[in-house]
Amino acid sequence: MSEIILPPSLTAIRDDFLALEQRDRLQLLLEFSQELPALPPRYAEHPDLLERVEECQAPVFIFPEVDSDGIFHLHATAPAEAPTTRGFASILAQGLDGLTAQQVLDVPDDFPYMIGLTEAVSPLRIRGMLGILGRIKRAVRAHLG
């Protein structure tokens, strides 16, 4: 069995979650959701934000960037009424920010299943985080051409 290699930032997040009892894991997810920074002004009027579709489960808008040094940054926003989605985005923003584009692509697609939230949050909801990670990787791949 090969050991899964995660970047140190994601390893730390995973270990923090796994060290907690189930109900405390929800509390940590809540803390992540509260730590999601506001969008920088250059994105605040992004046209996507104007296309909010009502009746949608936790609309999340992500703005993945690879800077001129090849370093990845993620900005994201989701409404305050969707703390779980905000928490997912915040985990990925904190865990992926500062990695190289290739390191981001090397993150296992099923990372969201590794942080011990499946029972506390439910597998169906974890799929939301899988979706965000998938979109991030697509954007990075497009950037690398």
């Binding site: 929800l26 509390q27 997810l29 809540l30 959701s33 579709v53 009502e54 009746e55 949608c56 489960q57 936790a58 609309p59 305050a80 009424e81 969707a82 703390p83 779980t84 989605t85 928490g87 029972e119 506390a120 949050v121 439910s122 169906l124 909801r125 799929r127 939301g128 979706g131």
Partner: protein, 298 residues
């Protein structure tokens, strides 16, 4: 009943006004002996962000769904849940939640499958309570354990299975999803994640009445006059009808089930919780695409 009914004039006219309470009534009755307030949301963390003081949390995924099979919990598990949440068999339960009470209505429907007698919805749900500036707390509630008997779930009256729907074709069938889902342009609500459905469209003969037509801007239910115009006049439903409602996984249709059963007073309404995620994935069931309901297959 151990807890008074809400006599607010705005609830007059509904067939079963005892199934609703207003925010003002709830604020006045918080802490009343024999009353337990339950929050049930789409987002599993909203309760932790802030909830009505004293309210307990019941989550549709982690509490009400069977952990393995696609079904609801059994009588033993429901009894354990009630005991943990401080709910006795004669407790008056008031449920509220996000999204115009979708998940609150869904939880209320599950309580009904277990025959819990006094279960009510907070009209307008979480959003109205907050919009009116009423109190919230982030302190988790610690209810004293209650006593609750093991009650076997009875699905016959309010729940429809796929084979019931097949046998029902030709009788009133209401699809409460968005128009795009009904027509077959997509299989999920706009911006919802794909959940494995293989085919798009609707069940033959189903009429499209999106759930939101029953909700006002503030998340409360529309007046009895407005609901009568939609469901009795436009759709032609009467007391004699057996009706099945469905959506994608049964939550939006719980909202419409509540409207038809308790606000309009129709007795024969069932919620098909398998809904599109089952029907659209099932082998050899008929599907219609496009804006017309279609006909019963021969």
């Amino acid at each position: 009943m151990t807890v008074d009914l809400d006599a607010a004039p705005e609830l007059f006219g509904y067939a079963h006004p005892e199934r609703l309470v207003t925010t003002a009534w709830l604020e006045k009755n918080l802490g009343h002996d024999g009353l337990v307030v339950v929050e049930s949301d789409e987002d599993v963390l909203l309760y932790e962000v802030g909830h009505i003081p004293g309210a307990v949390k019941i989550d549709w995924h982690t509490d009400l769904n069977h952990p393995v099979e696609r079904d609801y919990i059994n009588g033993e598990a429901f009894s354990d849940l009630m005991i943990k949440k401080g709910i006795s068999r004669d407790t008056a339960v008031v449920i509220y939640g996000d999204k115009s009470n979708w998940w609150a209505a869904y939880a209320l429907w599950v309580f009904t499958l277990f025959g819990h007698e006094d279960v009510r919805l907070l009209n307008g749900g979480r959003d109205k309570w907050i919009a009116e500036g009423r109190a919230l707390t982030s302190n988790p509630s610690t209810p004293a354990p209650a006593e609750y008997p093991v009650i076997y779930r009875d699905d016959t009256e309010h729940r429809a299975y796929r084979e019931d729907v097949l046998a029902h074709l030709g009788n009133p069938l209401v699809d409460v999803r968005s128009p795009e889902e009904y027509v077959g342009d997509r299989t999920t609500a706009p911006a919802y994640p794909e959940e494995g459905t293989l085919r798009a469209g609707h069940i033959p003969t189903a009429v499209s009445i999106p759930w939101a037509r029953a909700a006002a801007e503030d998340g409360t239910f529309r007046s009895i006059e407005e609901l009568t115009a939609i469901y009795r006049d436009e759709l032609g439903l009467t007391e004699e009808d057996e009706v099945i409602v469905y959506c994608r996984i049964g939550e939006r249709s719980s909202h419409t089930w509540f409207v038809l059963t308790y606000l309009l007073g129709l007795d024969g309404v069932q919620n098909y919780d398998g809904s599109w995620t089952e029907w659209g994935s099932a082998v050899r069931v008929p599907i219609v695409k496009g804006a017309e309901p279609g006909v019963v297959p021969v």
